[in-house]
Symmetry: D2
Subunit: 504 residues, 4 copies
């Protein structure tokens, strides 16, 4: 039992903490086996003071290099207190807290500098001394807050807390709320810790079926961003016959899928997503192994914003390939059927720009004429009409337009995927992901996603990134080192048509 006076003391500090969470913390600590819970009441005055006060208490100084192995870990209540305090804050306060944490509880720059000086002096000395100074230097480069992060990870729910905290950090940085070098440093430190904890050996591959816990299936439905799950019949089909659904989970975050891969088992590589997601498949039918030669990865979703940059998707695909090979030894084709987010808006942007510049080379003269004819416009406003048709998706209602536009849209899309770059790598994030994994840009598919969403995103075009297993390592290296993209003749043909037209 928590003695009454202490509960009272807790209650008195509600100016800075939300009352609920104080009580929760107290109960929690009690559950953890602490008989007495003692918060110093001095952190009551106001949020700012309390932040400093709480950080000073919770983020204990690093032990000296000599005593680093002889220091007992701080009490678990430190971590629990920090977690509850952080959760009780508003968004802006969180940002303040993290700013303070990263600025005031980071590296001891003076100490580092001194050791660095020492090291540059030790050039002449023996290797043993150099190694020792290096090790001291390495230790002194540890930010003080790293210790806190480490301890939090050991508390129940701690890893999930840190994943979510990193999601907050990333949001601050990308929204420019706070992208100071210190915040970036904190982010870097946290990312490298998460990379350790989510290293492959600790991940568990789970096949999700209709017998999996409802909790997981509901989460997978919610997380599915690529082709949204409409209802439970829908999700039942996606884990039913001729489908596979795999997820990585982690011992420290039970029941939480981290990255999810949906696979269709087909005879040949699919060129249309509706045949996979919407097609009527009798749910109770049994799989005929003799119809399964191909695995089509039609959706891969990361569920934890805070694990950005921690490479899970790539590894999941590789593990799933192995899994499928052992289930279907004669399976010979592995390919994605991927969306092309951003193509439509890139296309609209291009059209705007060309309009301003008075250029018309995106379509051939013949194509412009046909569009003008169908849309009943004069050459001066055909481009405007086309832009409007694209942005509304109405071009898909005219069979003639669909026919005329297939050529130009396909070659434009090929260029978008193959030719548009950011820092030398593919601009399109899905392309970049699969190319990093070593896939080949294999086939663009017209009329592949006819849902409103598919038309709006990419004029209905989808693309297969194919995994030739014996080539992925070399492809990956070629892409990552030399930024060179492996593509098939179909894709390269479309690209060169585009180039010819655009006089590139």
């Amino acid at each position: 039992m928590i003695p009454q006076p202490i509960i009272c003391a807790l209650r008195s500090s509600v100016t800075c903490w939300r009352q609920r969470s104080v009580l929760e913390t107290a109960l929690r600590l009690k559950a953890l086996g602490f008989r007495t819970v003692c918060f110093r009441s001095t952190f009551a005055p106001g949020p700012v003071t309390s932040m400093e006060e709480i950080l000073t208490r919770v983020v204990i100084p690093l032990p000296t290099y000599e005593t680093r192995e002889k220091s007992p870990p701080p009490p678990e209540s430190n971590s629990v207190e920090f977690m509850h305090f952080y959760k009780s804050l508003e968004k802006e306060e969180k940002s303040q807290l993290l700013a303070k944490l990263s600025l005031d509880f980071g590296v001891d720059h003076k100490g580092v500098s001194e050791l660095a000086g020492k090291l540059s002096d030790t050039q002449q000395r023996d290797l043993a001394t150099i190694l020792q100074v290096e090790d001291r230097l390495r230790y002194s480069l540890t930010p003080r807050y790293k210790q806190l992060l480490n301890h939090i990870s050991r508390v129940e729910g701690g890893v999930k807390f840190l994943v979510d905290l990193r999601a907050d950090l990333l949001e601050m940085i990308s929204s420019k709320t706070n992208d100071s070098p210190h915040i970036r440093d904190l982010n870097g430190t946290l990312k490298s810790l998460l990379s350790e904890w989510f290293s492959v050996g600790l991940l568990r591959l789970e096949r999700i079926t209709w017998q999996s816990p409802c909790e997981i299936l509901q989460k997978i439905s919610q997380y599915e961003a690529v082709h949204p799950v409409r209802n439970w019949t829908d999700i039942k089909r996606r884990v039913g016959p001729y489908r596979r659904c795999y997820a990585f989970t982690h011992a420290a975050m039970p029941g939480e899928p981290l990255v999810v891969l949906h696979v269709a088992l087909t005879e040949s590589i699919s060129d249309n997503i509706q045949s996979i997601v919407r097609e009527f498949v009798t749910l109770d039918s049994e799989e005929d192994v003799n119809k399964v030669y191909t695995a089509v990865f039609y959706s891969i979703s990361s569920t934890q914003a805070g694990l950005q940059g921690v490479d899970l998707g790539n590894v999941l695909i590789k593990r799933v390939v192995r899994e499928l090979q052992s289930e279907f030894p004669h399976m010979s084709q592995f390919s994605s059927l991927s969306p092309i987010p951003g193509f439509s808006s890139w296309l609209l942007g291009l059209l705007s720009q060309h309009r301003k510049e008075g250029r018309m080379e995106l379509l051939t003269d013949h194509e412009w004429r046909e569009v003008a004819d169908i849309t009943n416009t004069t050459s001066t406003n055909t481009l405007d009409a086309l832009r409007k048709l694209i942005s509304t998706g109405e071009w898909t209602r005219s069979e003639r337009l669909v026919h005329v536009l297939e050529g130009p849209f396909m070659r434009l899309c090929a260029w978008y995927l193959y030719g548009e770059k950011r820092r030398g790598y593919a601009l399109n994030p899905v392309a970049n992901f699969h190319l990093q994994n070593g896939a080949t840009m294999w086939r663009l598919n017209w009329h592949a996603d006819t849902s409103p969403r598919g038309v709006a995103n990419s004029c209905g075009i989808m693309v297969n990134y194919r995994y030739f297993l014996q080539d992925t390592l070399s492809n990956s290296a070629a892409y990552m080192h030399n930024k060179s993209i492996t593509a098939t003749e179909q894709v390269l043909g479309l690209v060169s048509q585009f180039k010819k037209n655009s006089k590139l």
Copy 2:
């Protein structure tokens, strides 16, 4: 299928690899989904060359700071190859390999030194620059082999391999086979990686029962070092009624208990181990909750030499305390019943030394006379007789001797535990372990382990380290920072008797 020529190529390189492991590797790689396995035959000439050759190929250079996020991981076969190569080596070759690895594939000292110089120059500059240089410096302090260790951990069986490799390292260091600064650095790097992977959030507490897999129970029997398990009836009792057995396991090493804690559930704190380990307890009797007020930790064993210094035992005790509290809410006493390894040999050493120096103060004059009387010796050779009796354990056969020696042995033992130090901490490793955890040195028990082993190790004395839950944190801090030991009046009384006698 592996094409025949490649198998042949593999076979041709057997000069350095054991043939078996080459084939195994090949089959293994095939199982991992690699179609073609290609070892360069150039590493054939001889073991020394091949070591260099293999290390150069397998321990790839660190990416530059700029490209560190854009570098694809090396193929998994690198890690598998290194693992198989290492396992195929003889002990001495292993030592050579690790020496080479730590010396030639460590930190780039020149690069570090340059950056360090840069940092000592940047004193005046802005914080953002300092942070950036610090981050570069931190990166440059990464030994090249760390990357290899990281990749190995991701392969199936990799973590276990590294744990075993560290056991080899520790053995090299302690046996002075190889304790160069570089080997120590490699050991430090590996230890800090293992600490991450075996952090508490990733450990799973398992209660071991007679329903647990045979594989685990057999291992627990083998690992039990404190009170050896004699047969399967014995182990069955240790997981039966009024007993608990808990172990930590780890997701990356399934089926392998890492640290094992045996607990007896009793009414009061036990003063005798035979009542726990040998006592006849009907195996099918049901526990009576109303007889359970105390948990006696009577054995804790670490099973993995390679996890030395990674703090698991302390955490296991704390988790088990919580577990027991939730099962037995009225449980109020937690204590170890611990062996005192080394007491007898310390005592024999002391006697030898006193003999040389002609000192007799270990026993009182009265005690000496009694011993002389019983052993029928003259005062000149009583000490020798006593030494012999202790080293053979024969003193326990004489009731009179047992009676006479209780006083001196108990106070000597108290001093051994409380007063003998190594770098300021308790010399006895078991004492040091529990004191670090925050336990109190609670009671010395005469006649507590009457097995030959118990008599040989500690003259049959055992000690209780008691865990007062509300004090463990402060005790632990007091011990680790100030080296002060919390002990009861019984222990302190014995210690002061010893001091008085010895004129300390």
Copy 3:
């Protein structure tokens, strides 16, 4: 592989079998390890012939009494063939088949009669002879088809097949399609077999949670007949905090809940179903043990029509009570909150009858006047107006009517539950179920189910059957032997009001 000729032979018999199922059977048999599948082609001519033909082949004659232990079981394919044949039939054909089975493959009446004659002669003889003849008689009373049923139960999916077959039988009997004595005999035989297989020792109690397989939760949603589950949020709440959901499953029908009990954990006995089923409960809130004193069974559903008469619900309630007591040792109240299906239609029937007979005593004069007043009717058509209001449920829209009708509806309902009988037992099936279990008719609740369904079924009234654990055995015996109902003063008071009014 099934040799081609045999497949052909199979195909040629499709006149009577559906082609699909022939192939299925063949594949199935192959899967069962049969190398060659051989159907005699003679059963091809037509359905009627084939029925006889198939039954003659499949329902093998009983061995003689002497050889009954020495007879090998018929091949498993017999059972599989019968199952596939039966499933391939249309409803009417099924009825024919079962009629034939029960008539021509039942008891050998002549044999029985002879043995019976022998037995009545043996009066004088010794007990050993009598016992022997009795045993022969018992054996001869076994219908030949019982052996088939037994063998079917041993095939995978066989038990479920028989449960469904019995559902068909019950439907034939209740719809008078076929209720010959032979069909009833078949039904009786099957029921007693099912009772054996679904005996309590073989049932497994499962607590259903949000972590249970989706498959089970979906089935439980479908089966919930009492308060239909509207969506997945709804079912999530019914397995969430302050709720329990238990089901019996059976080893021979994995993944199939047989009977499902929904429980609400409350402070006191609920008088309203919406507070349980619709109330907003934050799904993530944790249960406070100190708010749980009562278990309210608010829904119990049998899922298998074919298990009618096999007592599962009663046993489930008892098991759940034990389970809850061990989870909440201080739980002290157990009660249902039950619907009263049939009350409204019984009431409407009564009104019609009274109208014909010109009787008005269902309501008091005062009540009639108030109703007339509110409905603005003359005394002659008030009764008609009332009937219409009840049958449309519109009376609930008038606060005044609701107020006026509470008295009469409550006493009528009490009578319906307590006084209306069928063969001496409560007419209302839900009442009969709980009274058989030994519950007390504890409280009628006005305004307890305000859903349209609740108003339509029972004018919104619900009833609590309360389980006083120490009395259930005696209550049950009193009800089943003496047909006497235990009820509280509230119920008895309402009943006597009704009687007084009705001059009963």
Copy 4:
């Protein structure tokens, strides 16, 4: 809580009950949710009275035919009380109790006789009436104790209790302690109930591995009667690579293997047991699928004496065959390697008999001469010398004798297996088991079990019963109906040699 007075009352009845079990019962009943436990103290006087008293109370009368569906089950405490009472009895008392139960609580012979009379009169009447009277007759043939057995099966641990009770019954019958017709009737009733509960659909096939619970592996070691398990290394090998161990378990007896089958996976059909049980096999080696073409069933053990006559072994073999076929699709040979218990003693008996009768045809003249020569005996005492050598097993020490005796022992053994009968079926129980299952007597193996046990039982000979899957059904039927044995030429050749010699 059980009120003190009742505990006292319980204690007062210890004259007939063992005190422990009374208390146990009380606690047990309390655990079952009974608030008050009330034993009538009148059954105290003495064991005999108490038996009657307790049976009268516990074995309640059958409901009448009319009310049989309306009768509540008796309280569970009845069953629990009976179980505890029975367990508290000495062996002899148990026999008394069962005698009383079977005699006084069996069938109502008078009622049966009346109904039988009625039935023989109803010859002329309509079928409906006949069916009805038959059903009544069937019901009246139910022994009153059957109801008790049924209820016991529903209590936790009840099924196991009944299995053990039947083992007691069988022991009484076979030891002639009590083999009255009534006891046989009770045994028959219990057997048919057990057959229902242990019907195949309710059995679970478990593969036992080194990961299985220790509890199960220990039991399997204990139960292994064919080739005793010597230690845990031994059992580890029997569940390791190239071995399989399967067991049936039952939902109502968790953790209890009912029948256990050990299989060796080999290239060809083994002719020697030591190569399977003793051979050094590296335990960690992995199975090479390409070396597995044959499954050798080298041990099958039933573990529950009380399930005698309930056919589990046959079904287990068939299930295991299917299991193995799906794991090793190219597996083509299935065979036992079986002991021949009883051959040596049969042979010794035969020799004694021939000696008395002065016949010498068991061996040829030539063989006798060789034996005489080797044993250095005159023709008159050669037979005695041979008998002695066989009974001591010493003949195996002389290579020459082993060589000479191979011929005669093999043909004698062939005859023993093939020609010696009991009621027309094979005398040897192992032969009878496999022949019933439809196996072929395939090969006799000389020098197949060279352990002392093997020599003592069957002169070291073992036999393969081979399962040709396509023939087992017809073989089984031929054996069970016509008592004809399928055997190979090797066996038949040996048999005809025997016949020729013996002039049969």
